[in-house]
Amino acid sequence: MATACCPPASALDEAAWQEAERIAGTALAKRPARVVGHLRWFLAALPWLSLLVAGRPFGRLSLARRVEVLRRLERSPVAALRRGVWGLRTLAFLAVYGRPGMREMLGWSPDPGGWSGHVPADLVRPTPSRGTPALRLVP
């Protein structure tokens, strides 16, 4: 499920998976019961939904077919199904991209120094705006 939503999950080793699961668990513990309940319901329904949509339970589908099933559910006229996919994929993103080191891998290294911080010099040098002929200002 996580890999179908978030392909970088396939590269996680055992320790990284544990970390991802910990992050997801911590996040879920802070969600209202209503939200967690909906996710649970969706996960429980997924094998049956998959049977309906793809003729096999979710767990027995290839990765590409899993993605396809989730895509179909994501476009479903039933809002609860769309929300189910959205909730699960968001949790997967949180677990995978929320791990230490991931943000740097993606190229995000925020620095309180801002312009004078870590960003390579050719990128940071602010150049004059090519800009608007007559600058319009919001009052």
């Binding site: 939503c5 199904l81 600058l135």
Partner: protein
């Protein structure tokens, strides 16, 4: 039990402004208290962290949603409220819009004048050319090429170094939220501020405050009394406190008419790395509210927020995120209008929650805004644009001529597209009387003169995208009335044991 003259619940745009405006009372020896649910921000982030900030500074640990789970609601739960996490965009209120609310005794010109004075006082300024990053420049260039008229916006910031992490709490304390401007002034005048303290119940001239890990007071429940209590806990929580307090019986419109300015993020991929994560995120806007109901702006968010904001999943989603240093981001915000069905209600646990449905006009505005955003991004040289209401969301340059077909209202399906809102308003609106709203033009709750409201919940309708100055100006008027009314209220207050 401890006795105060005025208790202000919440320290954001509304509460912080009231606290500062009541400073003369504190200087004159009156006991004024601000009760804030969140912690102090501090300049704590040598290393900005998405998960830690969401957890520490946002309501619902950064994962609050509308009742049906389709719109993420981000509001600050920290000293200074949402203003402490804002980008500091300061858009003056429109007197005409406020006059259109038809609240007796609320002249739009007065709100305009107060907001203008606040802007002067804070020293809000237009960002200089030299501080603009490419995410902003590309917005301007693309907007001009697409035939729009971009305008530069004034910012409530001081000493911005362009750390680019406003939404995590500025590590340089550059955002001039109430935590930086109004609350320090109030504290210097003797206003007491207690943090990590949640008002859980209100009764006539009494409030129960639950203090957790403390920054001043012992943990546990505290019963506080005051002849005047000002609710400024934000549109959702203020309305929730009133509903829990049983005010709904006498005030049938309590909770109704909520607006939130739902927004999409459109993400564009450029062929080269651009300056995006460094620099102030939002210096421009294209305002199409009158014609099409939306505002378009540059924005930029950290990877986790970006991952959530993107619609879809799987390999395409991962490819967009992998292009992070090359991404340009644009926010499409709809100016929704107050509708009866959109309201704050209490859930099974008694917590306030927003019941909200996208009106067809809002959906159309969001779709029009996404088409415009795609045109702006392609106009700025993007090679691909990721648009929520397209299926698949990825559009290439060769799709440029088919934007109206590819980006469609039929695909703007709640739950499928990622929607977020940072500006919930209404729920305890100003009105003529108790049948059509909750307070008068000075935030006095109809039928409960000891109780005042001074935050975004006062707005009977959307004041326009970027409401902070409007809320502050309204709150200042509320504080004026508190100062005027206090002697009479104190005279009528029951003696405290």
């Amino acid at each position: 039990m401890s006795a105060w003259d005025v208790i202000v619940i919440g320290s954001g745009a509304g509460g912080g402004t009231v606290a500062a405006a009541l400073a003369p009372l504190a200087e004159a020896g009156r006991r004024v208290l601000v009760v804030e649910r969140g912690p102090r921000l501090g300049v704590a982030h040598a290393r900005p962290d998405e998960l830690a900030s969401a957890d520490a500074f946002y309501a619902g640990a950064g994962a609050a949603f509308t009742e049906d789970g389709t719109i993420a609601l981000a509001t600050g739960q920290v000293l200074g409220g949402s203003t402490a996490l804002s980008t500091g965009v300061a858009v003056g209120p429109s007197g005409a819009v406020i006059d259109g609310w038809r609240v007796p005794g609320l002249p739009g010109a007065d709100i305009e004048a107060r907001a203008a004075a606040m802007v002067r006082d804070a020293g809000a300024a237009y960002p200089h050319d030299a501080t603009l990053n490419e995410n902003n420049r590309l917005f301007e260039e693309g907007a001009l090429r697409a035939g729009f008229s971009p305008e530069r916006m004034r910012l409530l910031v001081r000493g911005c170094r362009g750390a680019g992490v406003c939404h995590l709490g500025c590590p340089n304390d550059a955002v001039l939220g109430t935590h930086a401007l109004q609350l320090p002034r109030a504290a210097a005048a003797g206003v007491r501020i207690v943090t990590r303290a949640r008002a859980v119940a209100i009764a006539p001239q009494q409030v129960v405050v639950r203090v957790t890990a403390d920054e001043g007071w012992p943990a546990g429940d505290h019963v506080l009394t005051a002849p005047c209590i000002v609710l400024a806990a934000g549109a959702i929580e203020t309305t929730g406190l009133l509903l829990r307090g049983g005010f709904g019986g006498a005030l049938p419109r309590l909770g109704r008419g909520v607006t939130c300015h739902p927004a999409h993020v459109v993400v564009a991929e450029h062929p080269r790395a651009i300056t995006n994560a460094v620099g102030h995120p939002t210096a421009y806007r294209v305002d199409r509210t009158t014609e099409d109901g939306y505002v378009l702006e540059p924005c930029f968010s950290s990877p986790l927020v970006t991952a959530r904001n993107l619609t879809g999943f799987g390999p395409e989603h991962a490819q967009v995120l992998a292009a992070y240093p090359r991404l340009q981001m644009l926010r499409v915000t709809a100016r929704d209008r107050a509708a009866d069905g959109n309201r704050v209600v209490l859930d099974r646990d008694g917590e306030a929650i927003v019941r909200y449905r996208l009106a067809p006009s809002v959906r159309d505005a969001l779709v029009a805004g996404q088409r415009a955003a795609a045109r702006v991004a392609f106009g700025a040289g993007a090679v691909r644009v990721h648009v929520p209401a397209a299926d698949p969301p990825r559009l290439d340059r060769h799709d440029m001529d088919a934007l109206d077909r590819r980006i469609s209202a039929a695909l703007e399906l709640p739950g499928r597209v990622s929607l977020s809102a940072t500006q919930p308003l209404g729920g305890a609106a100003m009105s003529r009387g108790p049948r059509d709203g909750v307070t008068d033009a000075h935030g006095r709750v109809h039928g409960a003169p000891w109780l005042r409201i001074a935050d975004g919940s006062l707005c009977p309708d959307s004041p326009g995208v970027h409401p902070v100055l409007t809320i502050m100006a309204l709150a200042e008027r509320v504080a004026d009335a508190v100062r005027d009314d206090l002697p009479a209220l104190a005279g009528a207050a029951p003696a405290v044991a």
